[in-house]
Symmetry: C2
Subunit: 338 residues, 2 copies
């Protein structure tokens, strides 16, 4: 039975991420983490007829590579939790049509990967699934026309803007066994600091990351320095700075913070302004970059906090402010046999 | 620990729906189930500035009425699972901004209520939450302009079209205790019978309902006649007929089937064509109509199967077919003390 402390779930049997896979597009293949992806394509359409269909393909590839790495036949997947940024989450649903496994759709915007891991770990520990996929994706071109303007308008990007990753990540969760352990999870509460700028997701999401991290530290009695790294995704440069300021105001000086949106791209060379974003950004960084470090043991214990901005183009045009949520999982290096 | 059999979860401690509340709009207040709603408004804007904001208000009212009926302070809610039809699920996220409880967003289109109950029951049984809200909503005006055409175009509705309910339903789930029991849950697999007609959701969703029901009967070794009623939501007249034909082709003659979309409105008097739809339709029918029957004991054991069509206006314009999913929960009347 999972134990609950405040907003945080403490897993007793230590569900594991048995395998993970990351797939990315052209810009991701030119970035600093290129070597860590399982598959990259120079064609952002991935041979599909539309960007939306390309994103479906991204998720499907990530799922299939993940299952391949775990040597698990698709039929053994008992539940998939997946989400994306497209209106009505169609990248996930259409990918699941191909995959054919039981599927519960999530919407957490860029927080989807952590939401899926948190729900998935709880479901695995409770006996609801022995093999569960948690996945998320985004596609720069599909997202931009959903949230901002069609790319062909050539709108000038502001310094606070983030670049939606064309990427997907997929994790296979199991109740226990070999793999990166999920020790705890905190579901976030929606925060809204009245940000209205659709080109400044980092500012909208930083308060959500701060809120969830503060809940986690309080619930578990831990301190930031106990972790090898506190990963967030995807605040970018602007949001990361704001997060550190918000935590400093609470007396927490964070020196081990890394934002997935700040490491996926080279800010100077790749013109991504404040950094990367999109549900696929931290999903791919988790699978390609973070999990291998934990598996190697070069990191022992990290926090993975994914943040999502919960607006739509409709709420933006209706002059609503941008609420955000952040979900967190505590990850542990696999225990070595003695 | 939850036991798993095929695609079906069998709950051992019988998580319960401790309370439920249904809220609806003008058309719902003129329909045959009007007396069963907890709150109705003749103003489809509910005093808000937009239809989208009105839907947020609907969810919020449903949640607050549900908590009021259970005499549970909001602070005791440990997790809310919610979703809706708006792009990027903004009705739910903005409602959760007001409610302020930990929140995991779902997207299951019109299947959201059953998805939330299935996930929620598993989380409650596994120890992840003691008080969990599962909720879903829809708003006719907000949905029509998302999926079809702006209302002001005055497009003629086809005979197969369904009327998206302006309604919300919210259930409070607890691991055990007094209330309607959730005995089992089946997560659906995405089905696609190549339907492309955006005005015929029933045809797109019927195969999903059939698939999930067939999985459930096989996994549990039960037969349709063992249930007082097999509820689906929301296939409408057209989809209901197709479901019965699909099941008949498998040798199952269903005589105890009721579709939430067929009972929320009066098809003759209210010009709803094939019936009601939208995540709020079966959510409100569940909370206002089904749960009270189980609580009174006039029904002892029912299946609640909610179906969702997983397309968007973008996939429709891209000539994609419409995939669908259905999730199911088995509900039981509260056990009477002897």
């Amino acid at each position: 039975m999972t134990v609950r402390c405040g907003d945080t779930l403490l897993f007793q049997t230590l569900p594991v991420i048995a395998a993970g896979a990351a797939v990315g597009g052209k810009k991701e293949s030119e970035g600093p983490l290129a070597a860590e992806f399982d598959e990259l394509s120079a064609d952002n359409r991935f041979g599909q007829s539309s960007w939306e269909a390309a994103e479906k393909y991204l998720q499907l590839r990530a799922a299939r590579l993940c299952l391949q790495k775990a040597a698990l036949p698709q039929e053994k997947v008992q539940l998939a939790l997946a989400g994306d940024l497209q209106a009505q989450c169609t990248a996930s649903s259409y990918a699941m049509r191909e995959l054919g496994v039981p599927f519960a759709g999530l919407f957490g915007a860029c927080s989807t990967m952590a939401e899926g891991l948190a729900l998935g770990a709880a479901l695995c520990e409770g006996g609801a699934a022995r093999n569960l996929l948690a996945m998320a994706s985004s596609h720069f071109c599909a997202a931009e026309r959903q949230f901002r303007t069609p790319l062909s308008y050539g709108a000038v990007r502001t310094p606070t803007a983030q670049w939606t990753a064309t990427a997907a990540g997929c994790c296979l969760l199991q109740p226990q066994g070999e793999g990166v352990g999920i020790a705890a999870a905190t579901f976030g509460r929606v925060q809204d600091y009245q940000v209205k700028d659709i080109n400044n997701m980092g500012a909208a999401m930083a308060p959500a990351a701060a809120s969830t991290l503060l809940h986690y530290f309080k619930d578990t009695g831990t301190e930031p320095q106990e972790f090898d790294c506190i990963y967030t995704g995807d605040l970018g440069q602007v949001g990361s700075q704001l997060l550190r300021e918000l935590l400093a105001a609470e007396g927490l000086l964070i020196k081990n913070h890394v934002d997935c949106g700040c490491i996926l791209f080279d800010a100077n060379e790749q013109s991504v302004k404040s950094g990367g974003s999109g549900p696929g950004c931290c999903a791919a960084v988790l699978c390609g970059h973070i999990l291998p470090r934990l598996r190697r043991g070069s990191q022992k214990r990290v926090l993975f906090t994914a943040t999502g901005a919960l607006m739509s183009q409709t709420t933006f045009l209706q002059k609503e402010t941008i609420p955000a949520v952040a979900h967190l999982v505590e990850l542990r290096a696999p225990e070595k046999e003695k």
